[in-house]
């Protein structure tokens, strides 16, 4: 969605409608000007290790303003300070280098960078997976507050279902490159319908309650040669004939499920 994959390997197909406009139609140059950072920004996994070690973090936060908006340096630095305050860091960190900050502080700086251009939407790609439990909790608290304050939309990418429930109003479960189920957080967590969603929830080791975690036998398929029919069928305990040959559509009323068991095949 950010058009960041290398041109020679990536093949995009389909549409991405952002704020009413198909942004896949835009040229790279227009996309860079109109969407990246100002419309959609992204916080990568382990991004705190991508900070430039030779530059003060304040300048690094201000840099997109200087590059994209030709802002005056003073103005940009003032804005950077403001956004650094908004991620609940003390002002003096503006003058610090990355090595002087802890992992959690660096991750806050990366979030500040993603917010400095006032985007409407932020893609959070495993934003806390490199952090400790307590630091993770404080970053998640911060993301919750920022969402309210700035009216942000988040696309939160994670393998951690427990963590997803900290932020998400809606949850999409992906398997082998496709969405297998999408619904509100209540629907997905309280009454999962796709067998993969059910198994995935059962694999989460819980802190409360007596449920012992179980695992899904087998391994995810090779995406070069995905299995025919439903991509989950080789590992599914409810597999029956149509699953092996026909791909189930993603359908339903409010919640969409891609499973022949939930949406029986017509005429079957």
């Amino acid at each position: 969605m950010m058009k960041l994959l290398p041109r020679n390997v990536a093949r995009y197909e389909g549409k991405v409608i952002f704020d009413g406009k198909d942004v896949m139609e835009l040229s790279d140059e227009d996309f860079r000007k109109q969407v990246r950072w100002t419309g959609i920004s992204i916080v990568f996994q382990g991004a705190m290790n991508a900070l430039n070690p030779t530059m003060k973090v304040g300048y690094q936060v201000a840099e997109p303003l200087l590059v994209h908006q030709d802002a005056e340096k003073d103005e940009a630095m003032a804005k950077a300070e403001e956004v650094i305050r908004s991620v609940r860091l003390p002002e003096y960190v503006v003058e610090r280098y990355p090595h002087e900050l802890s992992g959690g502080m660096k991750q806050r700086i990366v979030i500040a960078m993603a917010l400095v251009m006032k985007p409407k939407m932020v893609i959070l790609d495993e934003p806390t997976s490199a952090l400790d439990t307590m630091t993770q909790a404080s970053i998640i608290n911060l993301l919750k507050k920022l969402k309210q304050e700035e009216h942000l939309s988040y696309l939160f990418i994670t393998h951690d279902l427990a963590l997803a429930s900290e932020l998400a109003e809606r949850v999409a479960i992906m398997y082998a490159g496709k969405i297998s189920e999408i619904g509100t957080a209540e629907e997905i967590y309280r009454s999962p319908k796709h067998p993969y969603t059910q198994k995935l929830l059962e694999s989460v080791p819980r802190m409360r309650g007596d449920q012992k975690p179980t695992f899904i036998p087998g391994a995810p398929p090779d995406l070069v040669h995905p299995p025919p029919g439903c991509r989950f069928h080789p590992r599914c305990e409810y597999v029956f004939e149509p699953c092996k040959t026909d791909e189930p559509p993603l359908k339903g009323d409010s919640r969409l499920v891609s499973c022949w068991l939930v949406n029986p095949k017509e005429g079957a």
Partner: protein, 350 residues
């Protein structure tokens, strides 16, 4: 907590939520650690004072045979160093490491050979801990050669059996492969097989699943659990993840700034955490629950202290919500047995 009444239609027979403690044996514990210190010296220069990183700072515990003790803590709390010191991969500064009743803390490498066979490590990263230039067979065969299994057919037999034990079957399919041909979960199974090949009594598993996906994680932990039952292996499970520790260990020790601050049978520890740090760790961990998004998670402020100059008194006191001035910032709390088998290092716990 999430209540899900078998909407999935699948019938799962729930195992008991707490792993029963293994029966006490007449042989005595496999491992006892007493007042262990591992400090790393860093050099002083012309303008800079040298000092010590107190990675392990006075740790004592006992590990019974066929027991799993989880050591849980955040990064930098010294848990990895503790594991490595116990295996004598790092030299302790002070304290005793009683392996099967023998204090190996001061042994020179030559005298450690018996323990090198019986005590093994499963490292964290399955991507960097296997030699990429070695076939799986060679990786597994090497410890056998080093430890004097000279008969090549015996080596073949044992490597095949180790792969069967870790469910990489048929072994003939995997033996000629190289690490890059395997998935992360399969590689970690090879690491487990390598640890098993010399029939160990003790395995230190240092974050063995933290780099793996959720479902693969559980499958590897289940595997370790079944191997423990089959071969009566004792595990020291080092992790930052209290949730897996809860489900896969008999006892849990919580580490903070180089010390164990609380240690108890897993069920007791989580039912009634006595140390404020343990409580904070538990509060920070979410379960999958759609209501989470509507509330803020309670957290303690601040970050773990520097191990070079830890705060005086209890090292958690600067962050502790109940710390008492004049006590917690002055006196180092000792581990006290407040409940049967439930020890805590906090002045204020009762």
């Amino acid at each position: 907590m999430l209540a899900r009444e078998s909407e999935g239609g699948s019938l799962i027979i729930e195992p008991p939520s707490e792993l029963p403690a293994p029966a006490p044996s007449v042989e005595g514990p496999i491992l006892a650690v007493e007042n262990l210190h591992t400090w790393f010296e860093f050099g002083g220069g012309l303008f800079r004072k040298g000092g010590f990183v107190r990675a392990v700072d006075g740790v004592s515990f006992v590990l019974q045979r066929a027991e799993t003790l989880a050591l849980v803590g955040e990064s930098g709390c010294g848990k990895t160093t503790l594991g490595r010191t116990i295996l004598r991969l790092v030299d302790p500064k002070e304290g005793r490491i009683l392996y099967d009743g023998v204090d190996v803390a001061g042994f020179p490498e030559k005298k450690l050979r018996f323990m090198r066979r019986k005590a093994q490590l499963i490292p964290q990263d399955p991507y960097s801990s296997l030699n990429p230039a070695y076939s799986i067979f060679r990786t597994l065969e090497e410890p056998l050669r080093v430890h004097g299994v000279h008969d090549s057919s015996a080596r073949q037999e044992r490597t095949a059996k180790a792969l069967e034990d870790v469910k990489l079957v048929p072994p003939d399919l995997f033996l000629p492969k190289y690490p890059h041909m395997l998935s992360g979960g399969q590689r970690q199974r090879v690491s487990v097989a390598r640890a098993l090949i010399l029939d160990p009594e003790l395995i230190v598993a240092d974050e063995p699943v933290s780099m793996l996906d959720a479902s693969v994680r559980i499958s590897i932990l289940r595997l370790l659990e079944s191997l423990q039952q089959k071969y009566r292996i004792s595990f020291l499970y080092i992790t930052h993840d209290l949730a897996t520790a809860r489900h896969f260990s008999n006892r849990i020790g919580i580490m903070y700034a180089g010390k164990i601050v609380e240690i108890a049978p897993s069920g007791d520890l989580l039912r009634e955490p006595l140390h404020p740090y343990t409580k904070a760790l538990m509060d920070a961990l979410p379960d999958p629950d759609p209501e989470n998004r509507l509330r803020e998670r309670p957290i303690v402020p601040g970050e773990p202290p520097s191990l070079v100059s830890p705060p005086p008194g209890c090292s958690f006191h600067p962050r502790c919500p109940i710390a008492k001035a004049g006590l917690c910032d002055v006196v180092v709390p000792e581990l006290r047995e407040l409940r049967p088998n439930h020890l805590v290092a906090c002045h204020l716990a009762e």
